[in-house]
Structures are given as structure tokens and as C-alpha cells.
């Protein structure tokens, strides 16, 4: 640590970043914030830690970015370490505070700028450094080799045939309607997610493909403050979609991947008009359309009777605009839906967003503390089933379940839909017919 602190700071790089980021927005935001403190109540870090005023969003910016600008980038390692603790340890860039600020100041964008500045000096949480190295080498956060990924898909297609006849996972199929991208954790740790999605696509009669490159839609460099690498990650995905000539890129049940692909990615990858070159569709929207259009039908005998609640992932609901679709899907699946409070675009982050989960064990304590707000929200619904269409939300809520003894089960839409959908006769598995 002391060695770390003695390493010289490359002030020139910081100055360059300050000048690069010195937009009219940041200039205005930093100068007009009137210190009204309204943002404090919006932040779950603040609420979870006994309303510690140092956890109000405005304070976090004042203590970091404003100070860096005031000092014109001349900061030392100790100060950068403090910025690191705030920008990663006390903010998930969930953007909830922007809805509560009279000026609509986008604090998350400023915290991301602080992350970039820290990143330029190598002051980044270890867990994120590791994933960045993986992206650089392999294009995905787990460092998985292409052949392993393709092999996993083949294997999962075989597995899926046990449940749905004739499931295939087409790799690099040019001209398919949809290019389906996953979170690298799926092929690595939860391959059944791919199998489930393949079943859903098959039953819905979708024309789809999985790409052999650019298949990991996650973008942790976006949270690690490495904008160049983050841009490269989305470019891999966009260019693959363009070369396959698909109509849209579909994103698995992952929150930040949607934020990256649809909203921030175009800017990171240098698209001046801010639009991705290929339309992006999140699986929450896709499932909603399948159910609405009757392409997927749910077995009424399997409707969930027990009360369920819905975790609005920040990057799907507030930052993705899909809170209605999420609830519409639930109407098809469960009889007793009980919303959390607050919910939809106002919902609180679970505490696992913004890179928190991959930031690893050194941040776990804080993650459990700040997750108190979510744990209480869930407890108050009185439900034992939480639907969470995001891997980070799922991991965090599973951890909260243990920490706060909630006695709940976290499920994804994929799991529920594959379990509950009606199979047309020609798709019923061979074994079932023989019986």
C-alpha cells in the first residue's frame, strides 16, 4: 500500500482527462449545484448507513471531481485513493439521484469521470482490473476461448433437446433476425441459461444466432473507467452484428449490458449521433413481445400462486425504460404480484450494480451494508419469490438473502418461462412421446 502511495501521479494524464471531459454539462453542473441536499434522500448508500451526510451524492462529487478541478489535476495518491473509495465503494452510478435533483444534475456521469481519472493512474478495484485484462485478451470478461464458448453452445443445444425437440444453437448464421448475446458468466458458470434461451427462441419460432465473437454483451470496462476499452468491447459486438447482417442485437437478462449496448456504448464507440448501428433489444422486451403476440403461451396449470415481487434492475428499468414490460410479463406468469416500494423508474439499486459484484470480496462488506435498503424493500412485500432479470441483481439478492435471512428465492424470467411455457406438439421431446 505504501509503495502504491509513493508511486508518482501522472498529472499530465489527469489534466488531459479533465480537459477532455470538461463539457458544457459538467461545467454547468459543477457551478450551479446549489447544495440543497435533496439528492441525499434518493441514495441507498445514504439511507442504509444511518443517513451519513458524507454519502449524499452531492457530497461525493464535491469531495472528488469538484476538488480535482479546483486543484487543476494536481492531486496525490492518497487523494486518488479517497476518490477510488468514493467512486467505486459509495456509488453504483444507478442515476436515481438525477430524478431527485432540482437541476437534474447527472451525478453518475460525474462519478464515472472520477473513475476514468482514477483508472488513468491505475487506481482501480482489483476485481475490475482482472476483468479488463480478460476483455483485452479474449474479448470477454471471463477470458473464455472462442472454441470453449462454441462448444458450450453445442453442448447446451443437446441438453435443451431433452426438453424441447430439435433445439439448435446456430453459430454465426448470417441473415438471422436476432443476434443473441450473453453475459460471459453464463457459458462459464450457468450454461443452462443458454439452453433455456435456446428453448424459448425455438418455441417462439425465432430466427436467431449466437456470434462466435462479440458474444459477451457485458461491459465492465465501462464501470472500470476505461472508456477506450469499453468502446472496443461494444465495437466487437456491433461489428459482428453488422457483418452477420442481423436486424437486432438481443441482450440476455443482464442490466448493465443493456445500458452499454443501447445507451452508453454508441458514445463510447464514437458514434456521433449516439445511436447504435444495429437496434438493441433487451430480453425483457423480447419476452414481453413473445407473450403479447402469443408466440409463447403459458400453461395455465403452472401459473405461480405464491406472491411474487419484481426487482427492477436500474439499467433495465430506470436506465432502460422497460419497467412496464417487466410487469406485463409477470401478469402472464403469476397470479399474485406485489410491487416493492418505491418501484419502476424510482426503484433502488440492489447494491450490486456499477461493477460492485465483480469488484470482489474486498467490497463485499459494504455491499451487504448498503444492500440493507433492498433487503428491507423485499421483506416489506412479504413475498418469497423475487424475479430479477439481471445477473448482478440476482447475485446481490442471493447474498442479501443469506445476510438478512430473507428466506427468498431469486429467479429469472428465462427460468420461469422455460418451466411454464406450453410446447406445441411438434416440439415435444422425443422421450415424452414414446412414454
Amino acid at each position: 500500500m505504501s509503495e502504491q502511495l509513493e508511486k508518482p501521479v501522472n498529472t499530465k494524464a489527469i489534466k488531459e482527462l479533465l480537459s477532455l471531459n470538461d463539457s458544457a454539462r459538467i461545467k454547468s453542473w459543477l457551478s450551479i449545484c446549489s447544495r440543497c441536499g435533496l439528492c441525499a434522500e434518493s441514495c441507498f448508500f445514504y439511507l442504509a448507513k444511518n443517513r451519513d451526510p458524507k454519502l449524499s451524492p452531492a457530497y461525493k462529487v464535491k469531495a472528488t471531481l469538484l476538488e480535482i478541478y479546483k486543484r487543476k489535476g494536481n492531486v496525490d495518491r492518497a487523494f486518488l485513493q479517497k476518490c477510488h473509495d468514493i467512486a467505486w465503494g459509495e456509488c453504483t452510478t444507478c442515476k436515481r439521484c438525477s430524478l431527485f435533483c432540482p437541476f437534474g444534475i447527472d451525478i453518475a456521469t460525474m462519478i464515472s469521470t472520477v473513475r476514468s481519472i482514477c483508472s488513468s493512474q491505475g487506481v482501480v478495484p482489483e476485481g475490475l482490473v482482472r476483468t479488463s485484462a480478460n476483455y483485452r485478451e479474449s474479448g470477454n470478461q471471463m477470458g473464455m476461448a472462442t472454441e470453449d464458448f462454441v462448444e458450450t453452445c453445442t453442448w447446451m443445444a443437446e441438453e435443451a433437446c431433452d426438453d424441447v425437440r430439435g433445439v439448435e444453437i446456430p453459430i454465426d448464421k448470417a441473415g438471422a433476425r436476432i443476434m443473441y448475446t450473453v453475459n460471459a458468466r453464463e457459458p462459464m458458470y450457468y450454461p443452462q441459461d443458454i439452453s433455456m434461451m435456446a428453448q424459448i427462441f425455438t418455441v417462439a419460432g425465432e430466427s436467431w444466432t449466437v456470434p462466435s465473437t462479440g458474444w459477451d454483451c457485458t461491459n465492465l470496462p465501462m464501470f472500470a473507467g476505461d472508456k477506450a476499452l469499453a468502446g472496443q468491447v461494444v465495437k466487437n459486438m456491433y461489428s459482428k452484428a453488422l457483418s452477420l447482417g442481423v436486424e437486432a442485437i438481443a441482450i440476455t437478462e443482464c442490466g448493465h449490458a443493456y445500458r452499454s449496448a443501447r445507451f452508453e456504448g454508441p458514445y463510447l464507440a464514437g458514434y456521433r449521433d449516439g445511436n447504435p448501428p444495429v437496434p438493441i433489444i433487451h430480453s425483457v422486451r423480447l419476452f414481453y413481445e413473445y407473450l403479447r403476440d402469443g408466440r409463447i403461451k403459458i400453461d395455465p396449470a403452472k401459473l405461480i400462486e405464491a406472491p411474487v415481487t419484481y426487482q427492477d434492475p436500474c439499467n433495465i428499468s430506470r436506465n432502460g425504460g422497460l419497467w412496464r414490460e417487466g410487469r406485463e410479463i409477470i401478469q402472464y406468469l403469476a397470479r399474485d404480484f406485489r410491487d416493492m416500494s418505491p418501484n419502476s423508474e424510482y426503484n433502488h439499486c440492489c447494491g450490486g450494480g456499477g461493477g460492485f459484484i465483480p469488484m470482489g470480496p474486498e467490497f463485499k462488506r459494504r455491499r451487504m451494508e448498503s444492500g440493507k435498503v433492498k433487503a428491507e424493500q423485499i421483506r416489506a412485500t412479504g413475498t418469497k419469490i423475487v424475479i430479477a432479470p439481471c445477473h448482478n441483481c440476482t447475485d446481490q439478492i442471493n447474498d442479501l438473502n443469506k445476510e438478512y435471512q430473507l428466506g427468498i428465492k431469486v429467479v429469472s424470467f428465462k427460468e420461469l418461462i422455460t418451466e411454464m411455457m406450453l410446447l406445441p406438439d411438434h416440439l415435444k421431446p422425443v422421450e415424452a412421446e414414446e412414454k
Binding site: 458544457a24 450551479i32 435533496l38 432540482p102 444534475i105 456521433r272 449516439g274
Partner: protein
């Protein structure tokens, strides 16, 4: 004293208003200039419906979820901002000066009403000050300069009220009233008070960013 008064109500008015309006104009144009290259995101997702709703809900009293959660502050800040404009613009004494100088003036409020509005304005200012002092999450953000700006914004109102009612030394009170009001106008473009104009841009932006792009309300 007469010369000073004449200077303050003559050339000094021109100077302070020029700096106030010119300063805000220059600052806004400068920021718009910067934004052309660095804030494409501001222009890429324009939808005036979302922009205007984002502005409107924060102009009306308790128009936002955030302020409804803190109604005392919500009402106090609304009253403070509204009367900050209404009292000086529609004050009879000001309009008489305006009429003398240009032969035109705005309609005037009855003097007793202006008195009441001034007192309500100051009461709102006191609430804002107390809130700054007692709420830890506000106090921690507040610097000496923030306290100064709040008090300084109230100064022309206190001195105006006192001068009108001839409380204290009339002439000095009047001079302080005019000087502080002119100084306040000059400060606006260079401080956070520039939110009088920049508010509309930052609110429009978040309206586009969260509304146009995501359909999420920002109020």
C-alpha cells in the same frame, strides 16, 4: 449623498444591468459553444415534450416527487424564487423610478401587499437558512460562500423594507439597498446564481436523457 444617490440610480444601474444580462448571455453562449463539440448527447435526443415537462414540474410548487417528500423546503424555495422576481418588478417605488426615466412602467402591487410579500420572502429565506444549518446533509455541503450568497440575496429586501418604513437611518439604508441589489445583479452571472438561466438547460438535458431515451420521468 445626493451625488452618490444619483450615481447609483443612474450610471450604476446601467452598469449592473449590463453586466447581469451581458454576463449571462456571454456565459450561455460560451457554454453552448463548448457543447457543440463535447455535449452531442444534449442535441442527439432532443424532444421538447420531455424537455418542457422536465422543466415545468420543477417550476410549479411541489411538482416533483423529491420536493413533495420535503414540503416545507418545497414551498419555501418556491415562494423565495417567485417573490424574488415579483416584489422588485411590481414594486410601486421601482415603477415610479422607471416611469420617471422612461415614461413606461410595469403595473404595481399595492404597497401594503408588497410589504407582506417582502416579509413572506424573508421568512422563506430564514427557513432556507435554518434548513442549511440544521440538516446535516445540507450543512456538510454548505460553504461560507453559500451562506453569504443566501444572506446577500436577502439584503436588498431587508434594506428596502427598512428604508420604506424609515426604520434606521433612511439615507444609508437606501444606499445599502441600491448597492446590494446592484452587486447581486453583478454576482449572478459569475456564481451558482447563474442557475437562473442554466437551470433550463440542465433540466432540459436530463429530460432528454431520461425521458426521450428511456421514457423515465425526472420529477
Amino acid at each position: 449623498m445626493i451625488e452618490l444617490y444619483e450615481f447609483l440610480t443612474g450610471p450604476a444601474v446601467w452598469v449592473s444591468f449590463s453586466i447581469f444580462i451581458g454576463g449571462l448571455l456571454v456565459r450561455t453562449i460560451y457554454l453552448l459553444g463548448v457543447s457543440l463539440e463535447r455535449d452531442r448527447v444534449f442535441y442527439n435526443h432532443v424532444d421538447m415534450k420531455w424537455g418542457l415537462r422536465s422543466i415545468f414540474h420543477w417550476l410549479v410548487p411541489l411538482g416533483s416527487r423529491s420536493l413533495r417528500a420535503q414540503p416545507v423546503f418545497g414551498i419555501a424555495s418556491f415562494v423565495f424564487h417567485l417573490f424574488l422576481f415579483v416584489v422588485p418588478l411590481f414594486l410601486q417605488a421601482h415603477n415610479m423610478l422607471l416611469h420617471e426615466a422612461f415614461g413606461v412602467s410595469l403595473p404595481s402591487l399595492p404597497e401594503s401587499l408588497s410589504d407582506i410579500l417582502t416579509i413572506v420572502f424573508l421568512a422563506a429565506g430564514v427557513i432556507l437558512l435554518i434548513r442549511r444549518l440544521v440538516k446535516p446533509e445540507v450543512r456538510i455541503l454548505t460553504s461560507a460562500w453559500d451562506y453569504f450568497l443566501l444572506l446577500f440575496t436577502c439584503l436588498p429586501f431587508v434594506t428596502g423594507l427598512f428604508a420604506y418604513h424609515q426604520i434606521g437611518p433612511y439615507q444609508s439604508m437606501l444606499i445599502i439597498h441600491i448597492v446590494s441589489a446592484e452587486a447581486l445583479l453583478i454576482l449572478i452571472p459569475f456564481t451558482k446564481l447563474s442557475h437562473v438561466v442554466l437551470f433550463f438547460f440542465s433540466r432540459a438535458f436530463i429530460g432528454f436523457e431520461m425521458g426521450t431515451r428511456r421514457g423515465a420521468k425526472t420529477w
